[in-house]
């Protein structure tokens, strides 16, 4: 399609009409996709904005008489200590599981696998990818089976004479962070593998010739060259992790107490446990704002254009 847009000096009338036809045709072909997007994507987003300013409830009189209540949902949110806790938990979860855990581990894996034997790469790649292709609910189940009171880890501990630990209750945040790293690392690894493969070998060799150490090559040459990929990956991983619900919900249910209650869990609890749909919707908007904010910070601080 793009080639048609290029204005050539020998445009004839005949070609013009053909261009119109292509335009009409392409609109026709895109229409189903647009309609679907409009109905199932843009529509709900607009509705979300509307409901965030109402007292919509799942049951009770407010379910029948929905009223516009202005910024009330947001005001009570900022007064709610549980909301503040959830924001902190979300940031902790994001920082340790995505930004630090998945990224660094993914990068190390990618570096270690660079220019290694093809079979080796393939085998390791498949093992790491297994975590990524496993559906979230299955990941959660595996980790619950591993960490629960009578789980594999405790059996092993007992075998070597140690006391069992109630992992999911004593270290709930650590448990979900580890599970999420296990699940998501492969994605970062793939992105970094592609980026590292694009770094020309000659640049590294030249630096080595000039007497740079391996660390200097890594930090002064390679990292700056893959900066763009790092930011892209950071944005993608952040957005994925902000939305993680299934994993945490099925491993700890956001508990015990509020110790793993990240914003998506808090939102679910308000909307479907406390029946406050309007309030839940308002929380989802805040989640959106945090996602946009974090992405902007990355892009600004690394001074790259995506």
């Amino acid at each position: 399609m793009n080639t048609n847009m290029v204005v050539s000096p020998t445009v004839t009338i005949k070609e013009n009409t053909r261009k119109d036809h292509t335009l009409v045709k392409s609109i026709l072909f895109l229409l189903p996709a647009w309609i679907l997007l409009l109905v199932f994507f843009v529509g709900p987003i607009l509705l979300t904005f509307y409901f965030a300013f109402t007292n919509l409830a799942l049951t009770g009189t407010e379910a029948k008489n929905v009223q516009f209540i202005g910024f009330q949902n947001f005001l009570s949110m900022f007064e709610d200590p549980d909301f503040r806790i959830s924001v902190v938990k979300t940031i902790v979860f994001l920082l340790f599981s995505a930004v630090i855990g998945q990224q660094i581990l993914g990068f190390i894996l990618a570096v270690l696998m660079k220019e290694k034997n093809k079979t080796f790469r393939r085998i390791i790649g498949i093992i790491v990818l297994a975590g990524w292709v496993t559906p979230e609910i299955v990941v959660a189940f595996c980790w619950v089976a591993f960490l629960s009171d009578n789980g594999t880890l405790n059996l092993l501990l007992q075998h070597i004479g140690l006391k069992p630990v109630t992992w999911l209750y004593t270290f709930p945040m650590v448990s979900v962070v580890v599970a999420n790293i296990w699940h998501g690392t492969a994605f970062s690894m793939l992105v970094f593998q592609a980026a590292l493969d694009d770094v020309p070998k000659s640049v590294e060799e030249a630096a080595m010739m000039d007497g740079a150490s391996r660390f200097q090559v890594m930090f002064r040459i390679v990292l700056p060259m893959v900066k763009g990929s790092i930011v892209t990956n950071m944005v993608l991983v952040t957005l994925q992790t902000l939305g993680v619900f299934t994993l945490i919900f099925s491993m700890t249910g956001g508990g015990p107490g509020t110790s793993t209650q990240t914003l998506p869990i808090f939102m679910y609890n308000q909307a479907f446990v406390n029946y406050q749909l309007g309030y839940g919707t308002a929380i989802s908007l805040i989640l959106l704002v945090i996602g946009i904010g974090a992405s902007l910070i990355y892009i600004r601080s690394m001074k790259v254009n995506l």
């Binding site: 026709l28 679907l36 049951t59 009770g60 407010e62 029948k64 508990g255 107490g257 509020t258 446990v273």
Partner: protein
Amino acid sequence: MKKYKRIAAVSLIAGSVLLSAACSNQSASTNGSDKEVIKITYRSGGGSNKGFTDWLNKEIIPQFEKDNPKVDVQLSPLNVSEGDYFAKIALMLKSKNTAPDIVTEDTFMVNSDASAGYLTPLDDKVKDWSDWSNYTENVKKGVMAQDGKIYGVPYNTDSRGLWYNKDLFTKAGLPVPWEPKSWDEILQAARIIKEKLPDVTPFWMNSGKATGEGTSMQTFEMLLYGTKTPLYDTDSKKWIVKSQGLTDTFKFIDTIYKEKLGPNLSQVLNGQAGAVAYQQLMPKGKLAIGLDGIWQTGNWGESGSAPWPEAFKTLGFAPMPTQNGEAPGTITMSGGWALSIPNNSHHKDKAWEFIKFASSKEHTLSLLTKERNLTTRDDVAQEKSYQEIPMFKEATEFLKFAQFRPAVDKYPTVSTQIQSLVEDVVTEKITPEQAAKEYQKNVTKIVGQDNVIEK
């Protein structure tokens, strides 16, 4: 050639639009034949309602379908935790495409779901139903919404108390039969058991969000209604948001876990808690005292999830004392379940026929024998076979001092606040005093400044 392309494009669009429309437009109730399909929704998660399912499948549905050959009654149980059940049905009842024809409602939700417009008022129908006069008067109040209309036919009610293991009590040197006169005596007994029988869990009560209404009613309200101040002041129609009773209730819960008289948090804070306590620990003699409802006996019967014939010799069912033994000395909370017809049902008349059929004296009796809940009908209560069900004598006696949950449409939301505060206290996130303060703040936010009082 061009023509074909255009036709292809148009049909592609038309096809995809039709396809997307078809996704949401599944007809709810045709199954090929010309039978009228009646769907019944209830909760089956965590091994619950086994007796109810059996009763429907083996007795009620075959008989009803024989009498009404044009009707096909189908079960569509929700396999979810108690906490999730009400949100699920609220979502189902919202749409004509998903609403069942009969839904089981906990009586505390009837008011709220009726106010939301989800349920059909049954006043016209019960008016012409001769059996309705046999229902106990105060049970009928449970299915009446704020607008004064009836929204369901109650099929069971219940009472709560302290299950205790007589063998363990004897071993620990405690008196049998046990009749604690105050909260302190309960704690005292639990402490002695902890000391004498270290591998036994002394005391179990629902304590988390996952056990939903069970945490509010079987734990928090069983305690709170034994103090001088209940949840709701019926005279002034206001919520009591600050009282010594509230703080003391949170303190009692805190004491159980602080002194390690309760179960492991990992056992009690999940949706399977009830099954762990009454299907595993209690029958194995690993649990001494449990604060819960009469329906737990359903687990131990022949058709229960954990048959335990000696249960009725080994276990005692003691009434819950008031805080310091204040008059009347004991209390129980009483609730129950009802059969309701959703507003979005397509077969309201047939659904009503079915409810009438299932609620007859003889069928009610057979249900209660199976699921071990108390009756809502005066005539069933007179039956000898009903009175002879083990533990029913005790459980029915508790009802003398029964208390009911506030029949106000905000109750479900207040109840979820209670659940999360109780979980916060047992996980030591906040102190009992902080919990009482949080309660005041959150409940005021829910019901409004004008609807609260302090005592």
